[in-house]
């Protein structure tokens, strides 16, 4: 073992320790930043040692790649709006998956080029990491397009879809098996075909999944990329890649399972259920939707809020879309000046990413003790005077408790209907992403305040101030 290799291995070890300690520091808001910095330092160390060993051989692709990729990554990260975070993370995740797939391809031709077959472990790793990386790549791009609303957020389904997906999956599997036994002479052209098919599979896989289920999909694709990276580690004999990939795979899987539990739906239902496609069709054909809805004005709501003792804000994706988080905070400040206690009830799947609402409210300087999890928020609703639902829909739908025919029956929800008054801020009576009617809107203690969430909240703040 040369000195260079040993020093490189020690560098990797330091990097790994930084990553794990960094993740441990991410356990608390006060140390989270230090955690991210530590992980960054670990990555810098690992990259410097890797550059030291590889730059001599392949300076051009490495320097060009790091400069171009680094510039794109940093500039995009600095420019993106906080509300667009979920799709940005999806894109970066896709880039990682694509990189893993391309590394496998380059390794494959490296082996073919040296007229070898590689050993079985490497051959299996090459094929698996290429497939999973490609699925993650195109799957993430579709998730991005859906979240950015460049394509419909509704599930895209067509007759025989499962059959088509099954055929593509089988083709990928067959090609994979053939490639694992490759001899380098006759099968060299198969690898790009494998990449193309696996990319197709990733696209087909995410198309039928609705926008509301994207938190689950993004977590899952994150764990896929982790897995692909771990397998890449077996190709190039790198414990660094294996450990990093495994950490990410574990975390992505854990978040995916937690999201599924929060919606009380098995993962298979999320992935293959085309959730909301049917409901969407029904709503489109239904005549006008709910009938007994009370509409109210900002002035009335302002009085109600100003003379309440306890107000619970229930934010959802609508708040993110309208970028209303700062306005919400301004309203809360006005109310708190008048002695009203304002808290926030956060459903685990509110928004488009795990913890999405928490980040947005943190951006608006809402103190985190005011943010309540579902378990802590629900006992509070019966003593809450006003529940202010801002752009949340399905997570407040009481049908989940008692309507067995509802697609979301059994999903744990926020019990907003138990509050003294419920004010729902909504653009229109259009149903939510899942396309399900919400009986909450027809309750006696519910009033609707129609309009853009941000504009409505600003009006409320002005009206409270004027009181």
């Amino acid at each position: 073992m040369s000195v260079l290799t040993i020093v490189g291995a020690v560098g990797d070890l330091v990097a790994i320790a930084c990553f794990i300690q960094g993740l441990i520091l991410l356990n608390a808001p006060s140390t989270a930043r230090a955690g991210n910095r530590l992980a960054m330092a670990g990555m810098a160390i690992a990259m410097i040692f890797a550059a030291w060993q590889t730059l001599g051989a392949a300076a051009v692709p490495i320097v060009v790649g790091i400069l171009v990729g680094g510039a794109i990554g940093v500039v995009a990260a600095m420019r993106v709006k906080m509300t667009a975070m979920p799709q940005m993370v999806a894109l970066y995740n896709g880039a990682g998956g694509g990189a893993a797939a391309l590394v496998s391809m380059v390794e494959f031709y490296h082996i073919v080029g040296t007229a070898g077959q590689g050993d079985p472990v490497v051959r299996v790793s090459l094929v698996l990491s290429a497939i999973i990386g490609c699925i993650s790549f195109t799957g993430s791009i579709i998730a991005f397009l859906k979240l950015q609303e460049l394509m419909t957020g509704r599930p895209i389904t067509y007759p025989g879809q499962q059959f088509v997906n099954g055929i593509v999956a089988l083709a990928v599997a067959a090609l994979a098996v053939w490639l694992i036994g490759f001899d380098g002479e006759t099968t060299w052209w198969c690898f790009p075909l494998l990449l193309v098919l696996a990319c197709g599979l990733g696209k087909l896989f995410v198309l039928p999944i609705g926008g509301a289920d994207m938190p689950v999909v993004i977590s899952l694709l994150n764990s896929f990329t982790g897995l692909a990276v771990a397998i890449t580690g077996f190709e190039i004999d790198s414990t660094l890649l294996i450990i990093c990939g495994a950490l990410v795979g574990a975390s992505g899987t854990l978040l995916t399972v937690m999201m599924g539990k929060a919606m009380n739906r098995p993962l298979t239902n999320v992935l293959f259920g085309a959730f909301g496609a049917q409901g969407g069709a029904e709503v489109a054909s239904a005549s006008g939707g709910p009938q007994n809805v009370k509409s109210t004005s900002a002035d009335d709501v302002a009085i109600m809020l100003a003379y309440a003792q306890k107000v619970m804000v229930v934010p959802g994706y609508g708040m993110a879309v309208a970028q209303a988080q700062h306005s919400v905070k301004a309203l809360a400040d006005q109310l708190e000046k008048r002695g009203v206690k304002v808290s926030y009830a956060i459903h685990p799947v509110a928004g488009r990413m795990p913890g999405h609402m928490n980040v947005l409210l943190a951006e608006a300087n809402v103190p985190y003790p005011a943010l309540l999890d579902m378990e802590d928020a629900n006992p509070e609703f019966p003593t809450t005077d006003v529940a202010l639902v801002i752009g949340a829909n399905d997570v407040t739908n009481p049908a989940a408790r008692n309507v067995t025919s509802s697609p979301i029956y059994g999903m744990p929800i926020l019990d907003v209907d138990k509050a003294g008054n419920v004010i729902v801020l909504k653009r229109s009576m259009r149903s939510g992403f899942a396309g399900i009617e919400n009986p909450l809107y027809e309750l006696d203690n519910t009033s609707m305040l129609f309009g853009d969430a941000k504009a409505s909240v600003d009006e409320l703040t002005a009206a409270v101030k004027a009181l």
Binding site: L23, L26, N27, A28, A32, R33, N36, M40, M43, M47, A50, T54, G56, V60, P61, G65, I66, G69, I72, G73, A77, M85, M88, Y92, A95, A99, A100, M105, V106, E107, H110, G113, V121, I218, N222, T225, G233, E235, I236, D237, S238, T239, L241, I242, C244, G245, A246, L247, A250, S251, G252, L254, M353, P354, G355, H356, N358, V359, A362, P367
Partner: protein, 103 residues
């Protein structure tokens, strides 16, 4: 790869998965988005895989132009993942910076 080397790597993989579960399961909901973003950046370590693969490819002599392009794109995508991932996490966490409000 001889069987001992393979088993060694497999052991590392399995232990790392356990470490991952143990560390991540303690993260509070408030931090789930930064957590996901940070782990996302960590799997950007694949950029090192891309660097190693590129070096191995070039070590064989000058590779075909399309393979050079593929190797460059692999490094580029990996770099986007690493730099973008950490930068975006840093931006998110800046929002958690402010002092705890006295309760």
């Amino acid at each position: 790869m001889d069987i001992n080397a393979f088993l060694g790597l497999l052991t590392v993989l399995v232990l790392a998965i356990f470490v991952g579960f143990a560390v991540i399961s303690k993260v509070p909901t408030t931090l789930h988005t930064p957590l996901m973003s940070a782990t996302n950046a960590i799997h950007g370590v694949v950029v090192i895989g891309a660097m190693v693969a590129a070096a191995a490819l070039y070590a064989n002599g000058a590779p075909a132009p399309w393979l050079r392009v593929a190797a460059t794109i692999a490094v580029t995508l990996g770099a986007i993942n690493v730099f973008g991932g950490f930068a975006v996490t840093e931006r998110m966490l800046q929002m958690f910076k402010r002092k705890e409000s006295p309760k």
